[in-house]
């Protein structure tokens, strides 16, 4: 475990040099929130639009960071032989993947914290104190599970294929999940099955003060299960070739 943590630390240090990461995970949701968060006065998901948009933007930034950061890097590092190189060290066999997920879990935090702070002090979202950590943790969980999907994509696809594949996944889960704008009708119905929707909806239900349906939480756990299975399969099948 010490080795895995050492690698995690090194990965985090790398991330500090990476401008792309900050643009996608922090700058994008912040800018969108500043542009739109206070302009719309309607309601969404039964709460003020500003509150909904705060949660959806926090989820968006975190989800996008978990997905974009890892898939491309893993694919690149697999191609360049860094994963092979690590297999020659005493790092445990799953150390690399565990470190990637730990890093993701850490990198989803800034966008969540920043957007929630913006919501409180710029968007005038006022909530009882206990609701903030509940919302933060829900959003964090709902987005970090995408780190596992990123592992699956990174192992399965070559670097030049990763970009389009991630982009498709990104649009599907961002739009169907209602991260950019709330969906209604048929698409809205399908969207309810996405983890991104589920994370946001748990947050707005908490704000609205209604009981959170168990289905939402179960949905998130099921998605985590699906992504972990995909990731494990991808890592296993490519193990010999890496």
């Amino acid at each position: 475990m010490a080795g895995t943590l050492a690698l995690t630390k090194a990965e985090l240090r790398r991330l500090m040099h990476n401008r792309r990461y900050f643009i996608f995970t922090v700058a994008f949701p912040v800018i969108l929130y500043l542009l739109i968060g206070r302009q719309v006065t309607a309601q969404a998901y039964g709460v003020a639009f500003g509150a909904y948009y705060m949660i959806s933007m926090a989820t968006f930034g975190a989800f996008s960071g978990a997905l974009n950061g890892n898939a491309q890097r893993i694919s690149q590092e697999k191609k360049e032989g860094w994963i092979r190189q690590l297999r020659l060290t005493t790092l445990p066999a799953n150390g690399y993947v565990v470190a990637k997920i730990l890093v993701s879990a850490a990198t989803t935090v800034p966008s969540i914290v920043i957007v929630l702070l913006l919501g409180r002090f710029y968007g005038n979202v006022h909530l009882p104190g206990w609701e903030w950590p509940v919302i933060a943790v829900t959003v964090w969980f709902g987005s970090t599970i995408f780190a596992a999907l990123a592992v699956a994509i990174g192992y399965r696809f070559a670097p030049d294929q990763v970009q389009p594949v991630t982009l498709i996944v990104y649009f599907i889960f961002a739009i169907l999940g209602g991260l950019w704008f709330p969906l209604s009708g048929f698409l809205g119905k399908i969207g309810q099955f996405t983890p991104t929707y589920q994370a946001v909806k748990i947050g707005t239900d908490v704000i609205q003060g209604v009981a959170v349906p168990a289905g939402l939480a179960i949905g998130l756990v099921v998605w985590l299960g699906i992504f972990v299975v995909l990731a494990t399969a991808a890592v296993r099948t490519t193990a010999e070739a890496v």
Partner: protein, 365 residues
């Protein structure tokens, strides 16, 4: 002037080599250069005491009838070999001979189709994970976006018996660019960083796949000098190469493999001897060709006017037979053939024995 052939040792002299050779005090310069720069191992002493199967302690590595098949291709075919403590062993073969596949299996990156590999009596995976093997792969990548020092620190921190960072940086010759980013290095520099990762812990066995591939002559010399330090510290070294010169000068034991099979195993001198690797030349009047063709040890015969050139597996016996027959040849020269000719002879013999076209090369993959 014949000396300007030995001017080869003057690798650092830059342009105008032919001129240089003519005016330099030939033999002296060439001799010292070859002695100090090119005979990395001081092999004459070592060649006598090594050899194989002489029972010194348990094997560091053992391959027992190991095969690896990819579909119909036999990349490695029934390889059986043992490495012992303190040996420097070159794995020599053309591209596609199965060198990398063999090393990959030794390093637990691939599983043998059949057979068994033991490293320090354990399976390869555990040997790697306990830090007993330090390895450098041909295809080993580096983590981008970090500095060389950060990377070396990371890999060192993973090792159970780490060397001090500064020692590793110095031995690998990378101290002067330790603060540069890994993704901004030249090919040769990258190669040295990979090497640093192989020696950053006190591993007992060092495995290197084509270690000097991207290195220039000077870097290569530095590299083998630091390798010498590693071996002197009691480590066992196995390296794959297709540079025959390198195997000849750096290794005290050579394993020749071709199409996945072990063709020869011995000291560089033994390998050369096996292939009839002495060249005899002399002048002789009234040449009797059938007599020459019947000489003991003869592998090849060339005649030009009164000049006879013989490639022989036992040059002494060949010469004595000529004297015994009453001939008195003039200007006798006996020279060792390079490992290259020996290697070509061994692989060609193998290719012929297996009904392969020797002219089409061996590049199976």
């Amino acid at each position: 002037m014949s000396q300007h052939e030995t001017g080869y040792g003057a690798s650092g002299s830059g342009g105008g080599d032919a001129e240089y050779g003519r005016y330099a005090s030939g033999a002296e310069y060439g001799g010292s250069a070859i002695g100090s720069e090119h005979d990395y191992r001081g092999r004459t002493a070592i060649a006598v005491e090594t050899g194989h199967g002489n029972g010194r302690g348990a094997p560091v590595v053992s391959f027992e009838n190991v095969s690896k098949h990819y579909g119909g291709l036999r990349a490695v075919d029934g390889l059986t070999v043992e490495l012992r403590h303190g040996e420097t062993v070159a794995l020599l073969g053309p591209n596609g001979a199965g060198k990398s596949t063999s090393l990959d299996m030794l390093l637990a990156l691939r599983k043998p189709t059949s057979g068994q590999i033991r490293v320090f009596g354990d399976d390869p995976y555990h040997a790697v994970k306990s830090g007993r093997i330090g390895a450098m792969l041909q295809s080993g990548g580096l983590m981008p976006e970090v500095t060389v020092r950060e990377l070396v620190e990371l890999v060192t921190s993973l090792h159970p018996k780490p060397e001090p960072i500064e020692t590793t940086l110095r031995r690998a010759g990378i101290a002067q660019f330790a603060d540069q980013r890994v993704d901004r290095l030249s090919g040769g520099q990258t190669q040295r960083v990979r090497f640093a990762l192989a020696i950053c812990g006190k591993s007992e066995l060092i495995v290197l796949d084509e270690p000097t591939a991207a290195m220039d002559v000077e870097t290569r010399r530095l590299f083998w000098n630091s390798m010498k330090e590693e071996v002197a510290a009691g480590r066992t070294l196995l390296f794959a190469t297709h540079y025959l010169e390198e195997a000849d000068q750096a290794a005290d034991r050579i394993l020749v493999i071709n199409r996945g099979r072990l063709l020869a195993d011995g000291t560089p001198a033994e390998i050369k001897a096996r292939a009839g690797a002495k060249r005899l030349s002399f002048r002789l009047d009234n040449i009797d060709e059938p007599f020459l063709l019947g000489l003991p040890g003869l592998v090849n015969l060339e005649l030009r006017h009164d000049v006879v050139q013989i490639q022989s597996s036992d040059s002494d016996a060949t010469l004595y037979a000529i004297f015994d027959a009453g001939y008195r040849p003039r200007e006798i020269e006996v020279t060792s053939l390079g490992l290259e000719q020996a290697f070509l002879a061994i692989t060609a013999e193998d290719d012929r024995a297996n009904g392969h076209d020797t002219t089409s090369g061996n590049g199976a993959n």
